[in-house]
Structures are given as structure tokens and as C-alpha cells.
């Protein structure tokens, strides 16, 4: 499973990144969590609000920092 965090590297993005790692750990999922900070890459997803959370190529959240529990539900 590939989880991507889209965002220019602000505080919110880092928080979402940590929450995603914790959520995957808790569920025991083998997941690769990647931070995407390049605008060119972010633009490909057509996301206007960062941070955004992408699970296996699908955008599941944008513009908000999901908690660990919320990400667990999405996974």
C-alpha cells in the first residue's frame, strides 16, 4: 500500500504525515508513506487545499489534518 501526503512542507503536512505512519503501524499494515512536496507532482493530483492524503492513488482528504483514528477508518 502506498500512502502519499501532498503539501508544501508546512506544519500541518508534517502532522498529517506522522498521523498516517502511526495509523498504518497501529493496523499492522505494510505501507509506504511518502511526502510529496514538489508542486509539479501535487498539481498532477489537481488538489487545491493542502495537506491532502492519497491512498493508493485515490484522494481521500484535502485541506485538513486527519487524526490517527480518522486515517485508520479510511485504511
Amino acid at each position: 500500500m502506498i500512502i502519499k501526503i501532498l503539501g508544501s512542507g508546512c506544519k500541518k503536512c508534517k502532522k498529517l504525515y506522522q498521523n498516517a505512519i502511526l495509523a498504518a503501524d497501529d493496523l499492522g499494515i505494510e505501507a509506504e508513506v511518502i511526502k510529496v512536496t514538489d508542486f509539479q507532482e501535487i498539481a498532477k493530483f489537481n488538489v487545491m487545499q493542502t495537506p491532502a492524503l492519497v491512498i493508493d492513488g485515490k484522494i481521500v482528504a484535502k485541506g485538513k489534518v486527519l487524526t490517527k483514528e480518522e486515517i485508520k477508518e479510511l485504511l
Binding site: F39, A43, V47, T50, V65
Partner: protein
């Protein structure tokens, strides 16, 4: 009768005159401070401003974030695509005022609008007004300088955004966006992620308050600290010699001092307040604040990643000239 009620409301909630009295009483009666001393003047300014700014900030961010849940970026984009010509610039500038996006999210918005095919000038009208004029900073301005100044500030801010965006359209700047913005998008993602329930909206607003206050508190304290030092210790004659409204170059000093600063408008307000109390022209101070919010180097570096040099230079030139003109207008209005 109604007028008196409004004044009372304004004094109690906006200017918080009761809080000022309370702080002063506390300093004089409990701590036996001398009302004429420098330390008293600085401390009174510091304590009062810190409490007032954090109270106002929390309430205002809550309210504007709640309003924001009705205007998601996707919806803003849809509304904007319905308008044409200068009307679109005006709507762009107006939507910019009700959507308090932080500067770090303005670049993804720029990308989204451009890829959606919105005219470059409309996007810039939105991007100029968004950090410059928003609900929270306008109410703070009203609290410190009164409603008249706040309303004129909103009007000139919107005019700057409309004219700036129109000029960028006029000079056909759409060629000068980064090349990757001209490519097609792979993922189609028009879907709005909406806030369904009132509860969710309230949670979002509370989160925004925590997030923004958590991000700006240091700048606010720093700004109030500098403001308090100016208020208590810097002699008025000295400041007026450099920055008095009768000095023609004062507006330039204000703008160029503002550009390298990275601060929030909430951090610069207390400095502005202290400077105006010392007799610096209001136009000079507003030009300084506008430069801090729209032309700060960190946000220009981000913008550089999505536009080519020509457009970046044009944006900086238009905004700088606009701010300088606004500064002179305000300084002139005060003298007459």
C-alpha cells in the same frame, strides 16, 4: 439612542476600553507604578494588547473559518468561472476577502485555478486580496484605528486587487506561468469534500483557531513587544523626523522595511499602532503592513516556483506601486 448603543458595543467588544482601564488600574494601584514612567507605558501597552489581540483573534478566526466552510476552494472556482471581464476580477477580489487562506495554501490554489482555465488576471485579483483583506484583519484594524480607516482599507485593498489583476490580464501574462501548469491533469478531481453537519463545521472552526493561534502567537508577542518598546521608550520627535507624514520618503521606507519581514498581519498591527500613536503617518504604516502581507520574501519564493520571472517581476511592480499610492492617499487624507 441606537448610535450610543453602537458606540457602547464598539468600546466594549472592539476597543475593549474596560480592559485598558483594568490593566492600568492594576499597574497603578496594585503594583504602585508611576503613571508617567516609561516602564508603565510599555507594560500597559504590552499587557493590554496581548490580551486584546488573542481574544479578538480567537473569536474572529472562529467566525471566518465557519463562513469559509460555505466557500470551499472548489466552489470559489466554480463561481469565478461564471464571470467574465472586469466583473470576474471584482468577484475574484471579493471572494479573496472572505476566504482566509494562509499564504502556504495560496500556491496550490493558484495551480488549481490556472489549470482549470481561469484567466490569469482573475486568479491574481484573488491572490492579491486574499492575504491583504480578510475579515479578521479588518476587524482588528477597526479595533485599533476605528471603522472609518478599516472601511477605506477594504475599499482600496479591493481596488488594488482588481486593478492589479486586470493589468496582468492586459499585458497577456498567461504565457509566463510555469510550464507544468500547461499540461493536462491525470486525475480528475472535481469532487468537493463538503462539511456535512453543523458539528463538523464547528469542529473545523475550532481546529482553525488552534492551528492559526498556534502558528502566529510568537509573531504576535514579538510584534506587541516591539510595539511596547516603541510606545514606552522611543521619543516621538525622533520617529517623526524619519517617518512623519510630512516626509515625502516615509511611505517608501514603510514599504521597503516591510518586504523582508516574515510576519503575520496580526504581528504587525501592534507595531503599526505604536507608530501611529507616535505620529507616524497612517498611510506609511498601512503601506508597511500591506508590504509585509503581500510582498514578503518567503511567499515570493513560493510564487517563483509556479510563475516565470517576467510575471513575478510584474506582480511585484504592480503591487509595490499600488501600495505606495495607497500610502500617499492615506497620509494625504490625514493632513487635510
Amino acid at each position: 439612542m441606537l448610535g450610543n448603543f453602537f458606540i457602547w458595543l464598539n468600546d466594549a467588544f472592539l476597543k475593549m476600553t474596560w480592559l485598558q482601564d483594568l490593566v492600568n488600574d492594576l499597574l497603578i494601584k496594585v503594583f504602585n507604578m508611576d503613571a508617567e514612567s516609561y516602564l508603565y507605558n510599555s507594560l500597559s501597552f504590552f499587557i493590554f494588547d496581548v490580551i486584546k489581540i488573542f481574544l479578538l483573534l480567537s473569536v474572529l478566526i472562529y467566525l471566518s473559518s465557519y463562513v469559509q466552510t460555505y466557500f470551499t476552494v472548489e466552489r470559489t472556482k466554480k463561481i469565478l468561472s461564471k464571470f467574465k471581464g472586469i466583473g470576474a476580477n471584482v468577484v475574484g477580489a471579493l471572494l479573496g476577502t472572505i476566504t482566509p487562506f494562509c499564504s502556504c495554501s495560496s500556491i496550490p490554489i493558484f495551480i488549481g485555478f490556472t489549470k482549470a482555465g481561469l484567466p490569469i488576471g482573475v486568479t491574481f485579483s484573488f491572490l492579491i486580496s486574499s492575504p491583504l483583506v480578510d475579515l479578521a484583519s479588518v476587524v482588528m484594524l477597526a479595533s485599533i484605528f476605528g471603522w472609518k480607516v478599516a472601511i477605506i482599507y477594504v475599499i482600496v485593498g479591493i481596488i488594488l486587487a482588481v486593478i492589479g489583476g486586470s493589468l496582468i490580464s492586459f499585458f497577456k501574462m498567461e504565457k509566463y506561468v510555469a510550464d507544468f501548469l500547461k499540461e493536462k491533469t491525470e486525475v480528475d478531481n472535481e469532487e468537493e469534500i463538503l462539511f456535512v453537519s453543523k458539528k463538523e463545521k464547528r469542529k473545523y472552526a475550532v481546529d482553525q483557531v488552534k492551528e492559526i493561534v498556534g502558528r502566529v502567537w510568537f509573531y504576535v508577542l514579538l510584534g506587541v513587544g516591539i510595539g511596547a518598546a516603541i510606545h514606552g521608550y522611543l521619543p516621538a520627535e525622533f520617529i517623526q523626523k524619519i517617518l512623519g507624514p510630512d516626509k515625502w520618503y516615509s511611505v517608501f521606507v514603510g514599504v521597503f522595511a516591510g518586504i523582508p519581514m516574515y510576519a503575520d498581519i496580526f504581528g504587525t498591527l501592534p507595531i503599526a499602532e505604536a507608530l501611529v500613536l507616535k505620529g507616524v503617518g497612517l498611510g506609511t504604516v498601512l503601506a508597511f503592513m500591506m508590504a509585509v502581507t503581500t510582498l514578503s520574501i518567503p511567499s515570493l519564493i513560493l510564487l517563483k516556483r509556479v510563475v516565470k520571472n517576467r510575471l513575478l517581476v510584474m506582480f511585484i511592480t504592480i503591487v509595490t506601486i499600488g501600495i505606495i499610492i495607497i500610502g500617499y492617499i492615506f497620509n494625504y487624507l490625514i493632513i487635510i
